[in-house]
Structures are given as C-alpha cells and as structure tokens.
Symmetry: C2
Subunit: 365 residues, 2 copies
C-alpha cells in the first residue's frame, strides 16, 4: 500500500478494513468460546473504535483510568470496568461519584486498605460502584494472592461496595513460549480466588481475564469474560510473538527517509526515518529484535531510537530506500504510540477516508 | 518537599525555583566560556520556559520540528534553528515558507539530496532560510562526514539557500565516561568541517555543538554556540551520569502508591505507583539502574514499567511507603515525559503557583 499524498510524515495511519476484520474476528471467536468480550480501550483511546467494538457485541469496555472512563461514558458506553487498583484522592472520588451516576462502573481493588479507602471516599455513592478483586496470576505486578482475595472482598463489602468478582492480568504472556502457560495460570488463579470468595460468602459472578496473547486460549470453564486490547491494531511485539500475522496489522506510522549513514565503523548500511521515540514509543522487551519493524522491508531492523530519529539497519535485498522515500513503520507497542498523537489518519482501500481524534490520549488520572 | 494537595496524581510538577537557577547558571557558564547559548526547546516545549531562557541571554532556540518552531515563533521567539535534516514534503514546504517570513530560521541538512530538495521546495523563499550542515562527530546517527560537508553546502547554495555553518549532536556523550571524549570529537569534527567548507569558499560563521553532558566542556576555540536542552530540568539519566546533582532536578512526577507486592518468588519487597510508561516514558539505556528514580528514596529502583504501573523494588531503610502515600518520581529521560502531558503544575517554595501548557507537545511534524 502506498501512503496517500494527503498524509504528511510522521503520522499514525489506521487501515479501517483491517481494523474492522480484527474486531469482528475477535468478537466471533470469544463468543464461540462462550465468553463475554470487554476490550481494553487504553490501546486505542478512540470513541469511533469503541463504537465498532460495542456494535460487534462487546459487553462494555475496560479502561485504565477514570479519565478514560469519562471519555467513553460521554461517548455513550454505559458499562465500564476500570481495571486498576485506584487509590481515591478527593479529586478522583468526586469524579468517580459523578461517573457512576451515568454509567455502570466497576473498579479493581487489590488490598484491604485500597478497598476501604475506595468505599469511604465514595461515601453514599459506594453502592453505585462494583469492585473486582485483582489477583496476581504470575505477572507479579499488582494483584493479591488468591488466598488474600477474601480479605480484600470483605474490606470492600464493609465499606459499602458491591463485590462482583475477580480479575487477573497475565502480563507475563507477552514473551515467547508463555501464552499457554500464562492462560493456564490465570484459570487456576481465577478458580482459586473464586473459591476463596465463595468460602467467605461472596459470589464471584464476574471472572475476568485475558490479554491479547491469551484471549483465545481462555476457557469458559472458569472465566466469564476476556479483556484483550492490542488485537484491534496488532503491533511488532504481537507479530514477533506470532500472536498476529503481518496482514492483521492495522496501524502503522508513515515515515520519511531523511538520512543515509553508510560510514559507520562497523560497515553497516543504515538509514534514518523521521519517526522516533516521540512517535513510536520506546518499549523494547529483551526478546524483541528491535524498536519496531518496517511493513515492506521485513529484513530491516530498527536498531536505535532517538526522539525524532529511528536508525534502521539494512541488510538488503537491494539498495536502501532513497532519501525522501516514505515507509510504514510498525511500532513495537501500539498502546504507547497512539498515546503520543492527538489524531490519526484513517484509510480504506488505500484512500484517506477520515481522521479520528484520540479523545482519551494522555488521560493518566 | 511535600506535594501540594491541589495536585492529583500522576502529574508532572516543575519546581520553578530550581528551574530558574538552572537557566541562570547555564547562561552564565556558557557566556563565561565565550559561547552563545541556543537551548534545545524540545526538552520543555513550554513558551513560559523559553521566555525565561531568552531573558537570561539565549541567542535563540533550537527545535526539532517545524511544528515546534511554529509554536515558539508565535510566542515571540524570533531566531529559531531546526536541528534536523528535514525532507520537505509539499505540506512542510508551505509551512516553512510562512515560518521564515516572521522569524529568522535556519535548518539542518546532511545530504546533497536533502539540501537540493529543501531549496527547490522553498522556491523563491529559499533565500529566507539558512542551513547548517550536520556533521557526524561519532554518534553515527544523522550527519555527514566532515569530508562530505562541502558537497552538501554546495548543493544547498546551488538551490538558493544561505550556508551559515555546521553543527553536530554528540549523542554518544550520554554514557558513563564519554562526555570529555565526545566533546573533543565534536570540536575536531566542527574544525574539520569548517576547514572543508572554507576550502570550497563557504564561511562557517556558525559552529554549533553541545548536548547537556558536553555543554560546559565545549570550548570557543572552535565552537561558537552550544545547544543543551535537558539542563533546565535534569533527569535520572543526567543524575546517574553525574551531570547534575539531585538538588538540580526541577521536574518530578507526583505519584501515589497503589499496591504492595511482598509475595514475589524471589522474596523482593516491591510496591507499585500510578505513574507508568505513559507518564515517565520508557527509555532505559543499558547503563541506567532502572526506569527512573525516587527523589526521597535513593536506594529504591524502578525495575519495571507498564503503561500505568511502575514497579519499585525496595531495599529499605525502613518499611515500604504505605499504600496511598504520595512520592516524587524522577523520569529517566525528561524530554519524553513532558511530551506525554498537556499541562504541568508549577510550584515555588512548596506551593502550587501556576500551571503551564505544554504548547508544543506532540508536534512531530
């Protein structure tokens, strides 16, 4: 695909045809597995994409912050899960109270202290907010052990909150050879936590799991819903983990070759494009082969990023792209790339058809 | 310093007293070395800070993109250097023509092709734009070799542009033990390129160098100006490279402890704060000890970042900060952190005194 002339570089370009296919395919596959789909909207932050996910059958959205929830509630999404162990400041308490008046809202909790604060700070509005207890299924980030789930649930209940269930985030699935193991650990953790809650008199109606790498490996024997995010776009990480095909990648960064570097001491052939870490984000897990990939030159590697320069090592075939040539770069981690821009270009059938505002960009609170 | 209660987390907080001291000190030191100061504004992107730099004697600003130049020109800065080998698309050509009508503008070039395109695309406006030939002084990113400088200058001149001089960016100075060597290589490269230009009949009136690590190591025997950026704020990279003291760090991210993790298999004590890669940026050079530092807990390390979680390993002294406690995180690379927010909180003497808009945020074009 050539880049439409109206698009100046660097710019994020979304292929709407691929996007729609990704949305439909995940919706059908998850429904076929007997699970509900609650996509994580932190990946895209765009109301037009949320609307497509809901239209395809998503039960609601997952978000990371109150700010993201506010944007999607204003866009008409009535069912929102903030998958984060919020500590309610006075400012956040006021915003969450208001949010819960207009939408069905659930929030993560992973400690008795956090749960008590959540209910106390919400005051008489606590009854409008449900909580899911976050369980650590092996990622070792936030989340309580299954054995501590009941204590957290009890604190939440004592503070006036509705305990709706449990959730995990299997972030350790983002590594080669890990998705199946992480999905199994997640099922075990959800089952153990649900049993612990049941023993304490709480029914875990919602048992929520699933990242993009594990979403299709999650079974309805334990889980009730999954929350993949990246699947809408794909990215270089998912491609290198073989969780998506090249043809599934819906988001690329249009970039221009601005410099050739053929005189490095190691004799490598390199060129520079005008999309650096302020366009692509600089996530690079240890197993990644670089800081991103080129859609049309799979042998090339992005070996270094500065803020406005990506250095690309060239191993052929053929000559390096000429200075001035436009290329499509696949970011490593698409959630970071989209958070760097206010607007994206939307193409269909190779034509620029729309621009969408990244309405929830930068809403970290 | 405690974090003023009006500030909710996560939020970038700028200590104006430290900022002003950093600005004054660099201005005095550079003037004392007989050099002009042209600070790189990509670090802060804030007109209020640019005004302070100009008031302290800066000759003009350096920027990375036309979009940044447009913001600072609109804010009244009349002398702007775009330190990037721009490839002029039709859109960029039109914008650069307009920019050069209202401000004195110079642009980087590092290839004959790029220089020809620059002059051709500007057409009759080419005479309003000066160019500096970018020279690779050992960073091996963009930049021509000194031996190729005359060819690039000739192409620029043939295309109607004014050749004003040469510049380098010694990015390899951002590593332990490198600043002195990088500063010396830079001087050698500027001298060799100036001589090559002189032999071809071009006078390199401007000989521009200097990153924050090398700015105070640059001598006026060759260079005429330096372009440090990060010095206004400092960051964890500069601190770990010993290019600034802790007391010089003017920018921190206010964050709240949201979770404790005391059950990791390795027995480590960890906690989570609510500032992840979407607040701090995820740059982590190989020599850095983590993804950032804590201002008030220097023994702690940010060992992992997700989008909204920083995982902090705790080695004492004392107990981990309680869930709900607020902390100040020092980002690794401040230029990325500021590019993630639309606004910053400004404190003086521990009080919230202002909010500044990050007016040039996200302007990658």
């Amino acid at each position: 695909m050539s880049i439409p002339a109206e698009i100046d570089t660097p710019e994020i370009v979304i292929d709407r045809d691929i996007l729609d296919r990704n949305i439909e395919r995940m919706a059908a596959a998850v429904a076929g597995n007997g699970l509900l789909l609650r996509p994580h909207a932190k990946t895209h932050k765009i109301p037009e994409i949320a609307a497509r996910q809901i239209a395809a059958g998503a039960v609601g959205l997952t978000v990371a912050t109150i700010g993201e929830a506010e944007v999607f509630a204003a866009a008409g999404v009535g069912n929102l899960f903030i998958a984060y162990p919020l500590w309610l400041s006075p400012q956040k308490a006021e915003r969450l109270q208001k949010l819960a008046q207009g939408a069905r809202v659930s929030v993560g909790v992973d400690s008795a202290d956090g749960a008590t604060r959540l209910g106390t700070a919400l005051g008489s509005a606590a009854g409008n907010v449900s909580v899911l207890v976050e369980i650590d299924s092996g990622h070792h980030r936030s989340g309580a052990l299954p054995t501590a789930a009941a204590e957290v649930a009890q604190a939440a209940s004592d503070a006036g909150l509705n305990v709706a269930g449990v959730f995990t985030f299997p972030g350790h699935s983002y590594a080669p050879g890990m998705p199946l193991a992480a999905a199994a650990q997640e099922q075990d953790a959800l089952a153990a936590a649900s049993a612990a809650l049941a023993a304490a008199g709480f029914e875990a109606t919602v048992r929520s799991g699933g990242s993009t790498p594990t979403a299709l490996l999650t079974e309805s024997s334990v889980a009730t819903e999954v929350r993949p995010g990246v699947y809408v776009f794909g990215d270089a990480q998912q491609y290198e983990l073989e969780r998506c095909a090249l043809a599934d990648i819906a988001l690329t960064v249009a970039a221009t070759v601005v410099s050739h570097h053929t005189t490095a001491p190691d004799g490598s052939q390199r060129f520079i494009v005008d999309a650096g870490s302020k366009m692509l984000g600089s996530d690079k897990p240890a197993w990644a082969t670089g800081f991103g990939r080129l859609m049309d030159h799979l042998d090339a590697r992005v070996t270094a990023l500065s803020e406005h320069h990506a250095t690309i090592e060239w191993h052929g075939p053929g000559d390096m792209p000429a200075i001035g040539e436009r290329l499509r770069v696949i970011p490593n981690h698409v959630c970071l790339a989209i958070n760097l821009v206010d607007e994206v270009a939307v193409v269909s059938d190779g034509q620029l058809v729309d621009r969408w505002r990244v309405a929830a960009r930068g809403l970290n609170k």
